[in-house]
Amino acid sequence: MSKDNQVLEEFTSKEYEHGWTVNLEADSAPKGLNEDIVRFISAKKNEPEWLLEWRLKAYRHWTTMKEPRWPNVTYPAINYQDIIYYSAPKQKVQPKSLEDVDPELIKTFEKLGISLTEQKRLTGVAVDAVIDSVSVATTFKEKLGELGIIFCSFSEAVREHPELVKKYLGSVVPPNDNYFAALNSAVFSDGSFCYIPKGVKCPMELSTYFRINAANTGQFERTLIVAEEASYVSYLEGCTAPMRDENQLHAAVVELYAMKDAEIKYSTVQNWYPGDKNGKGGIYNFVTKRGLCAGDHSKISWTQVETGSAITWKYPSCILKGDYSSGEFYSVAVTNNFQQADTGTKMIHIGKNSKSRVVSKGISAGKSQNSYRGQVHILKRAENARNFSQCDSLLMGDQCGAHTFPYIDVENKSAHVEHEATTSKIGEDQIFYCLQRGIDEEAAVALIVNGYAKEVLKQLPMEFAVEAQKLLALTLEGSVG
């Protein structure tokens, strides 16, 4: 076995770090999906009638839809009747403050490196922690409240701010948008809600941490962020799940709504359990994320570092409706072993002078398949639209695949659209150069990969950038092609 293969071998045997489970008592719905389950979930959450109706409509639509087969991924058919659609860690009372939260839960998050105890946090990040299907704790609520910022669990938003939820829920991702969005609309259990009033710049990073704990459970959370005129918010999302042999479904929906002059920055470090090295188990991550730049000069920026999940199917997108609005997509997607990722973005230019930028860095190793799929669509009225896309692929080893499927559709002559894609590997000469300077192979690969992904990593807020870099180094150190 050559040295390269040896290192590759070592790397492929790397274990998933967050694979432990916790014995949390859970309150669950029975397996399967029908109208009664939808009603059960809605009742559990004491939802108003209109929301139940909204869910049922989505469910009925879902039953008429077909699971999409166009992504460049393969997996056995999902039995939607074999999934638990609602699971909540049992808590005796609704927590009013952190003291009421089950200590076991707090420990769970501390194990993940997320402290829910506010006084311990120095970095100034407000956290909404979601375990299985429900939000368990939100920090820094009062402080944010003083500025008029609403940051709470989705269920709480439904109770406390029904008018806002009713107005914006489904306004960016309609319930019938696609198969998984419809499923989510029917059964979503919780998630985060965030509202930034006019002119307010949110002073801290808002963050949601998602964790799947229970077995056989699907996670269907929903995030809705509304940024009023001239406001600003930076939002972070992180996720992990225990190691389990069976595949688990995660079908979330994220909606961003930016008014005139508003800016939303949304960052994800996705580290769902990817399955073992033989491809057994892992999360199916089928997520719909979309932002609407509704007002002029609004801006939405997606940054994602995707290292986990058995299968990833997601295209965080921007609808650039406002004139001079701008959309950005920065992505690092790493696949290893038998992971499959089909991810990318859509930039839909409607407004005049709208602009978008796409930087996608794919890294494939092991026997994985990594696809970039993206669309840049310049509509007829989008005068002077600009797009620049850069899609790079890095291959490690000769058993993986890298695929690029960019769709570029231009209907206005004043548009300027540029797309570039390259494929490369970590060169032996690059490695040797590092070795000659005394840097060992593992460190060399981490160095080179971080360099390769730098343009994306630097978009992340500090706290996340460090985590993401560690994650990349951890999963990719030593893998040489």
Binding site: K3, G427, E428, D429, Q430, F432, Y433, C434, L435, Q436, R437, G438, I439, D440, E441, A443, L447, I448, N450, G451, Y452, A453, K454, E455
Partner: protein, 251 residues
């Protein structure tokens, strides 16, 4: 310091080195000259531990240790530095970051404390002055978009940072104009001490006007066919390599 005995090496099926013998002592500068394809760069690569080359016979001892047994990174940590003929580009990795990683790995190996950011930067500033390199180059991606001269200067800067015991300059003069050559050579000279040694691999005598060797060896068909003082280089310049070739053929 370095003792090469009867070294044979090949790449794939092609035999390139055919029994090299060479001894280098601390404080010495050796020049290795020879026509294209004589094996000069191969020798440099074999000493640095490039995997493409297979040593088929012979030994190399460095500071009393078997060099050929060592991994390339350990050779570097023991004090061997190769200034590459064609330094690679590594996108996204700045020279500063690269050097900090390298230096600390070497220090770890030697059981020294790693340098914190402040002392690293202090050291760097000092070396920047020494080798006359534009500091803005160092925050850019390693060698990416550098001119030929900038790349070579960066090699010498790295050499200054890592303070090797044995520096091997592989065709460092290739592609340099006279000003760049002078700056690079000055850097090398400033780094010379009585404890370290330098091997200069070159095709032309030009570089040796600036880095004056104690010994000159002529490599031909994978063997050192002639050794002498620095005058040998001048003679070569004057008579050309054909002179050596015919001499070897006759013998």
């Amino acid at each position: 310091m370095l003792r090469i005995k009867n070294l044979h090496a090949r790449v794939e099926e092609k035999q390139i080195l055919n029994g090299i013998n060479l001894e280098v002592k601390p404080g010495e500068v050796h020049a290795i000259m020879g026509p294209n394809g004589s094996g000069k760069s191969t020798l440099a690569s074999v000493l640095a531990g490039r995997e493409d080359f297979e040593v088929t016979e012979g030994t190399v001892e460095f500071l009393g240790k078997d060099l050929l047994e060592m991994e390339p990174e350990d050779r570097a940590r023991e004090g061997i530095f190769l200034a590459f003929q064609y330094p690679v580009e590594i996108p996204g990795v700045s020279t500063v970051n690269f050097m900090k990683t390298a230096l600390n790995k070497i220090r770890e190996y030697r059981g020294q404390d790693t340098l914190d950011a402040v002392s690293f930067l202090t050291l760097m500033k000092e070396k920047i002055k020494l080798v006359e390199i534009d500091p803005s180059l160092l925050s850019r991606s390693l060698n990416e978009g550098f001119s030929g001269g900038e790349k070579k200067r960066n090699e010498i800067f790295q050499m200054a940072m890592l303070e090797p015991k044995l520096a091997i300059l592989d065709e460092t003069d290739s592609g340099l104009d006279i000003d760049a050559l002078r700056i690079v050579a000055n850097g090398v000279n400033k780094l010379r001490t009585k404890d370290n040694a330098t091997i200069v691999v070159t095709h032309y005598q030009r570089l040796l006007e600036y880095i004056v060797p104690d010994y000159v060896h002529v490599l031909y068909k994978g063997k050192i066919v002639k050794s002498g003082s620095k005058e040998l280089a001048l003679e070569l310049e004057e008579k050309g390599y054909d002179w050596i070739k015919s001499e070897v053929e006759v013998a």
